[in-house]
């Protein structure tokens, strides 16, 4: 029983991390309708900027995190305004955002070389033990933060004017413009939020228990892709639920699966789960079925 609960806890923790990474994709998908592979660059920038601010400039941890998130949010907004705005179709946008990520990553790791840099997070290796279950302090903070984020998104989209503008633009941008919604503002906000989320995800990934600030972080952003498909490309709830499902299934699969299934099985589990769900619901768990009119 303890083992089961331990695996479940690890699954929820992993799932929360996936959810944070996935939410960034979802926000942009809702606003601009594209799959934003530049999310990978936000992850890298967030982690390294936080490292520079906290470890090198000596800022207190949370201050450094906030500043890093703001900086990356700004980068994302500028990226959208100057680059993505000129791109007309989804396919090109996918590629352009990927181009941004592969161009940014080597530059960042060139400026801050080293295979594992110490972020200086307050959680270090400390573990909370409840019953027989151990959960790292980082995860113990991350899980509530994810829940708060989800609640925040829900309230934001439902009850604020800005959130309403976002939803309106996503449904029909011309009608929204006719109603006085500034699409530039909407896109800017959405990308800014995505940038901040990506940065936050990157920082979480490079804490001590995450493995430190290191080259290759951009790949982690892509781990969230099956999550968003599973959950529905435009649904924040889907991102969180999808993340949790995949995180939990992944942890259980790895511990329960027999040796003979081979190594690296955990890497394919998210995709297998995604495929299974897509067979039943081609738009994802909470995705909207596209209705096409001639």
């Amino acid at each position: 029983m303890t083992e089961f609960l331990q695996t479940l806890t690890s699954g929820v923790a992993l799932g929360s991390l996936y959810a944070v990474l996935a939410l960034g994709f979802v926000i942009v998908a809702r606003a601009s309708g594209i799959l934003n592979l530049a999310q990978g660059s936000f992850v890298v920038l967030g982690a390294y900027l936080a490292y520079a601010l906290i470890h090198q400039a000596g800022l207190p941890f949370w201050a450094g995190v906030m500043v890093a998130m703001a900086a990356v949010a700004l980068f994302a907004v500028l990226l959208e305004a100057f680059v993505l705005h000129r791109v007309s179709d989804h396919f090109a946008a996918l590629l352009v955002t990927f181009g941004v990520t592969i161009a940014v990553a080597p530059v960042i790791t060139g400026i801050w070389p080293g295979d594992s840099l110490n972020l200086g997070d307050p959680w270090a290796l400390s573990v909370l033990r409840i019953g027989g279950i151990g959960i790292t302090a980082r995860d113990a903070t991350l899980i509530p933060i994810t829940a708060v984020l989800l609640l925040g998104f829900f309230l934001f989209f439902r009850y604020t004017r800005v959130g309403l503008s976002l939803r309106a633009t996503a449904i029909d941008s011309e009608a929204a413009m006719a109603q006085g919604v500034s699409t530039r503002f909407v896109y800017g906000i959405s990308w800014g939020i995505a940038g901040a989320l990506g940065a936050f995800g990157g920082i979480m990934l490079s804490t001590t228990v995450g493995g430190g600030v290191r080259p290759g972080l951009e790949v982690y952003a892509f781990l969230a892709l099956p999550v968003i498909i599973l959950g529905g490309l435009e649904s924040p709830l889907g991102a969180v639920v999808g993340g949790l499902i995949i995180g939990i299934v992944q942890q259980f699969a790895v511990s329960l699966v027999p040796e003979s299934w081979g190594s690296g099985f955990s890497e394919v589990v998210p995709y297998l789960v995604m495929l299974a769900i897509l067979l039943i619901r081609p738009a994802g768990l909470f995705g909207r079925r596209e209705v096409r009119r001639a």
Binding site: Q6, D115, L125, I135, T208, G216, G264
Partner: protein, 421 residues
Amino acid sequence: MRDRTPGAIGIVAAAALLLTSCAVQTAPTAPSGGATAASATLASVPGFSLSDGVIHVGEMTALSGPIAPSANEQVAGQQAYYDIVNAKGGIAGKYPVKVITADNQYNPQLAVQEYQRIKDQVVMLSGILGDASTEALLPILKQNKAVALPSTQSSRFTAQENLGMTFTSYQSNVWNALSYLFEKGRISKSSTVCSMVQADQSGQARQDALEHAGKELGFTVGPKTEFAPTDSAFTAQIQTLKTAKCDLVVFGGANGNVPNVVAAATQLDYAPIWETEFFSIAQSFKDTDIATYLKENFVVTGLAGDLDDTSIEGIKLLTEKLGKTPTMQNVYGFMQAITATTILEKAVQLGDLSGAGLMKAMDGIEKIEYLGLNGDMTYGPVAKRLQPDTSSIFSYDPTAPGSLKALTAQYVAPKGRGPGF
């Protein structure tokens, strides 16, 4: 009505171009030989021209990507030895050595392309980083009759005539470490020893050593857990090891995996002895919180001894050349350069720096010594070649140079070399 001009132009152009085929060689009718007599004069070969007398060697390593910091230290170590050699005039006092680097990004497909780029500029490769890259280059090396020194410990390359080995095998390191810990009482007949390795030949090599040790020393061999190089969550494997009550785990990972392993082990409150190779240890760990766990639980195999122990000839020379205390990776590169230089010296003596000449040189060398840094590598005809059987064993100490504190240097298991190790 049919326009015949394109056809006519085409035929003329084709004929003209074909007639200029200036890049084909005539099929050889007799086997082309290099110098036949030992005292024949040295001829120019790709990578060496008599006019400037510089011998070029290639180094294929990960100049970018996560492994780059360690790889760059190896490059610096190699260069240090070549600088020492060149200060005395070079090989045989006459021919300085110059290194040409190539970046394989630890990716065998890139290794192939990069090798094509430099193969005519070098006489041999004095380093290939990565077992996979070495495997990838082997067919091409054979086709081109070229020689390379893999930067690896895998014993499966020892019997290849195109390759020159330098280091103690993975198997010997594990066997020596386990013997040492058994001798010191840190494990005993009542211990359970397990492994966490990758699902490839190097992982299997470690497992073989573990099982041999189990037979010879009498402890219980526990579960073998596997992981993939890019895994970041190790909770499942650690859970298995914890449930099996493993007292010691042979770990076959690299420094990229260690933080995650330590994090998972801390979370699950599991602290066995971890036995691993020195490339699992990165300098950056000493500023982090995993340093405490490493200090309490890790046992590391490596080369030489304490990195500031200048009574070891090799360390002394390397320290002087670098101007600072070397890291283990520097030592690693330094030793490979010793191997390369010894082979080149012999080849110059025999008068042939071509690939075939270098292979003959390797056959003609009895053994290579490493200035006290490690045991001798036995050369000679390929079937007789044997990797050294010594290991230096360290504990992790963030205050020590290179974070490694020597427990014993050049240790050999009392029961001797294992079978095929």
